[in-house]
Subunit: 255 residues, 2 copies
Amino acid sequence: NVTAQANKSLLPNVKNIIAVASGKGGVGKSTVAANLAVALAGTGASVGLLDADVYGPSQHIMFDVAHEKPMMKDIDGKSYIVPIESHGVKLLSIGFFASMTDAIVWRGPMASKTVQQLISDAAWGDLDYMIIDLPPGTGDIHLSIVNAIKLTGAVIVSTPQHIALADVQRGISMFALPSINVPVLGIIENMAYFTPAELPNNKYYLFGKDGAANMAKNLGIPLLGQIPIVQAICEGGDKGEPAVIGTDNTVTTAF
Amino acid sequence: NVTAQANKSLLPNVKNIIAVASGKGGVGKSTVAANLAVALAGTGASVGLLDADVYGPSQHIMFDVAHEKPMMKDIDGKSYIVPIESHGVKLLSIGFFASMTDAIVWRGPMASKTVQQLISDAAWGDLDYMIIDLPPGTGDIHLSIVNAIKLTGAVIVSTPQHIALADVQRGISMFALPSINVPVLGIIENMAYFTPAELPNNKYYLFGKDGAANMAKNLGIPLLGQIPIVQAICEGGDKGEPAVIGTDNTVTTAF
Ligand SMILES: Nc1ncnc2c1ncn2[C@@H]1O[C@H](COP(=O)(O)OP(=O)(O)O)[C@@H](O)[C@H]1O
Ligand SMILES: Nc1ncnc2c1ncn2[C@@H]1O[C@H](COP(=O)(O)OP(=O)(O)O)[C@@H](O)[C@H]1O
């Protein structure tokens, strides 16, 4: 516990550390993290992005640097990993360090250790923001990150359906634990609706309407935005060029 | 290893055991498992569904039996868990046995053990099919299930985007391992497109076009179907009434 306190002095040169969380996989958490980082960098801020989604790292793909290998750099006789720069963001992902086809690799203590290294043994430099892409749900990686760094806050990404909300509640409960105590800065409702170009006044609520928005209202947590399903967002993820569409501006101004 | 062989005699009264897998969360794996089970039951077959998605069980919600508690039954002096029946399917989920708001509960060995109990200590009876809803990705739960039961085969659910395909490949590689050796019966591409009622001839490829379908073709694995995004499917999941829409018939005939 003394160690835990001491370790919270990691990343002293980063002004704001924001974790992006989700109740379950596939809600667009990594996409929001990527686009948030790029949007913040677009305002002139210096931004880092730590891909801690150990079971499914994707930031190295979404920033189109999947085949790069981070260099090492000596500072005062100690060796540090140098983040890769792309789209104005400094990036480290465990995706850089594992073969793309490893079936069962990053489990338990080894995964936590690797994430810790990407925090304490990396040359992040001075940053206005660091965005941390957490694994979906709750678990050991979350605990070890929260114990290692002083998080400014967490943003929770959800889709609208009711069935997703119990998972969101679980995440909120985790951040509220006294031993964790991370402020939830807001909820982002992703894939909130679809509007075809041919019918610009129509909103199709494919995954339900306002589920996460209502939850935010009921819990008194800010709704940072409702992002529609936009093909360009998905294509951006595939191509490695974050689309920074729509509500990311709402989200950035929220910070 | 002798134990592994012996254990593969579990569930001797089940004719076909089909695992539903996915490379990552949120692709609709649980939805496909639920609707496949209901569709098969609709053909007159006796069907069981084992929710082994320990980190995010949802079948008890999707079958609208979230608040039921399975009974115990004595057979030859041993106590067995009685599956809950809903929509013609016999169902067991670890969701019946954990509080809805437990933040960090089902980890590692405890999760595997619980799943094993739902297999060996449950009164499934004679079944034509058992569908197993696996956790997303690959890991210990997959290994322990595969070691415990002789799987007829696995169905992999994916969404179309390129970024999802590496994860699918990882799952295929796992099933192909000699120590695992489970036939991949096919790939289902879910959320393949959206067609608004007002524009019935339009297909919007919101998450990309044919990604999983092309992968299936390239790997010589049957494409069991391409399921569109249909609001009724999502609403069915929220309400607890599996929608059994569209390609589930294709999928059922595939069996
Ligand atoms: N608003 C959106 N519109 C269209 N596609 C999206 C949107 N948000 C996310 N996606 C796509 O959905 C997929 C899943 O998103 P991802 O960020 O990987 O989810 P998670 O990190 O929660 O598992 C990705 O292919 C991504 O490009
Ligand atoms: N084809 C579809 N059309 C509309 N909604 C869908 C479709 N498939 C799945 N969904 C919805 O998407 C959400 C995620 O599906 P789920 O089966 O829980 O995914 P997974 O098990 O892969 O995490 C659920 O709310 C579900 O109802």
